[in-house]
Subunit: 312 residues, 2 copies
């Protein structure tokens, strides 16, 4: 099967020609924070047209699969909540656009769900029907699948709000309005507050870092910086606790951990696996804990299973 | 439809003759803590035989629906984890028992899931296809349904471990081995520890209560006892946080709160509803928060939908 794939992220758009488990060609471009969807569609259209023409796949392409960085209704093919990105997206008729401009049927899904589909199709989730993904980075995202079917829920938000499971109900206010969400306790946006509250913050190297991000925290922690080690350990425990809740919620065989933070996978993966195996109640055995394999391309690889799921 | 229903609880067994949404007749008996399943089956058999004979429904009864206080495999009709109750249950061939002794097909499910089915069929969940239940009491239990289908998971533990979602990852060790589970932070078994740690515990009435249970805490809190108020408020916040995670996990239309604690529903329900509506991220609207209506009989009412689910 050959399809066109689009991953509409918050900071980048990626377009690809996908054939089975291969990305034949791929092009990305950055988008401004306040970009409208209407404004980027012509550019997407041009790239997709170029991809399928250049590789002489115009006839083979059966559909366009669009991953979106917000909540969507995959049946009606509409965006239901865009989290401050692409503010006009709810009013854009994507289905009509795909028909009129590309002459293809459209399949639309949340990007965390397509990333899960991708990892299962061509990455760390191969061979599993019960999968949970968690993406650790600027926020905390993820998705869930039971018995080969994505968990979507009545309002399309089931399975993908693992970053907003509470891990400390005495904790910090989250951007979502809740208190003590995993994302509020351990993510890029909460790191500077975590650092400022750490008793060793005044004395240490981390304070001199330009940005307090995981890219600075993990190397400093490995070098023995006290505050960085404290932040790293607090994050690992919070992520571990969040993963245990995800396992208790969805009962998966495999938990796949991805996101920018996994640049320090050597510090993260063994510790997370240890925490999860020590704390998750799984009388049947042990959940397999794996690093995501497809990075930023996971959603593009998810295009084929998304179209197949819908077509059958 | 007419079926025989059995609810195998930790401290009681209830048997009933159920016709559509009516309990025609019901009998219960207590069981010892270390009772084996083999030892109680003859008594269950006698009661069921009496129920269907007395009410002259012997011909109409189509099945026996058994709710069990542990994890079960509803396909194989076996108990997979019994939580220290009915220790022989995994080795009992319940299907063969039902065939040989009652000449009826058996349907087996976890009691929290049958209680959800019951509330949806004849109680607080009528008219909803997307339902989460939470039962607050000696432990914290529950179940989840999406689009009219129970969430079961690969190892039959999805949906029913809401009591073991983490609400405070710095918190107390739980009986399940995890840290900071909702059940470890706010349940009957964790109340005495919570009380002993409260700064006002030494001075107050609660200490003189024979047992520190919700039955003593809620009335004392209403009477202004400082420690009891502290415990009540901590529990309400922890339960509220747990409910928000459940809503984020399963995206329901309605959340049904039950359990012995709901004797103080007037102190619990408005506060939980307020917390949930203030903290759950539900851009589509508000989750309906309701008290369970069927009490200890919910699982018995779940017998009919359980048998119908399987038959079709």
């Amino acid at each position: 099967m050959t399809v066109l794939a689009v991953d509409l992220g918050g900071s980048h758009v990626s377009c690809a020609l996908v054939e089975d488990a291969r990305l034949i060609a791929c092009e990305s471009f950055p988008v401004a924070r306040d970009q409208s969807l209407t404004a980027v569609l012509p550019q997407i259209e041009q790239i997709l047209e170029r991809l399928r023409t250049r590789d002489d796949r115009k006839e083979e392409c059966e559909a366009v699969a669009l991953s979106f960085c917000g909540l969507v209704d995959p049946g009606r093919k509409t965006v239901t909540a865009a989290n401050g990105k692409y503010l006009d997206s709810a009013s854009v008729d994507l289905n009509a656009w795909a028909r009129a401009r590309l002459n293809l049927p459209l399949f639309l899904e949340n990007d965390a769900r397509t990333a899960l589909l991708g990892e299962r199709f061509a990455g760390a989730g191969r061979g599993f029907d019960d999968v949970v993904t968690i993406t650790l980075g600027s926020g905390v995202g993820g998705a869930a699948m039971i018995a080969g079917r994505l968990i979507r829920g009545k309002h399309f938000q089931a399975g993908c709000l693992g970053g907003h499971f509470v891990v400390d109900y005495h904790g910090r206010r989250c951007t979502c309005g809740n208190v003590g969400c995993l994302e509020a306790e351990a993510s890029t946006w909460s790191l500077p507050t975590m650092a400022a509250n750490h008793p060793a913050f005044a004395e240490i190297t981390l304070r001199q870092a330009e940005d307090i991000t995981f890219a600075t925290v993990f190397p400093l922690a490995q070098a023995g910086d006290e505050c960085a080690m404290g932040l790293r350990d607090a994050c690992l425990r919070a992520w571990g606790a969040g993963c245990v809740s995800l396992i208790h919620a969805y009962d998966p065989e495999v938990l796949i951990i991805g996101g920018g933070v996994m640049a320090a996978a050597d510090q993260i993966l063994p510790e997370m696996e240890r925490y999860i195996h020590a704390h998750a109640w799984t009388p049947w055995g042990k959940v397999c804990v794996r690093a995501a394999e497809l990075g930023n391309h996971a959603s593009l690889f998810g295009a084929i299973p998304l179209c197949q799921e819908r077509l059958c």
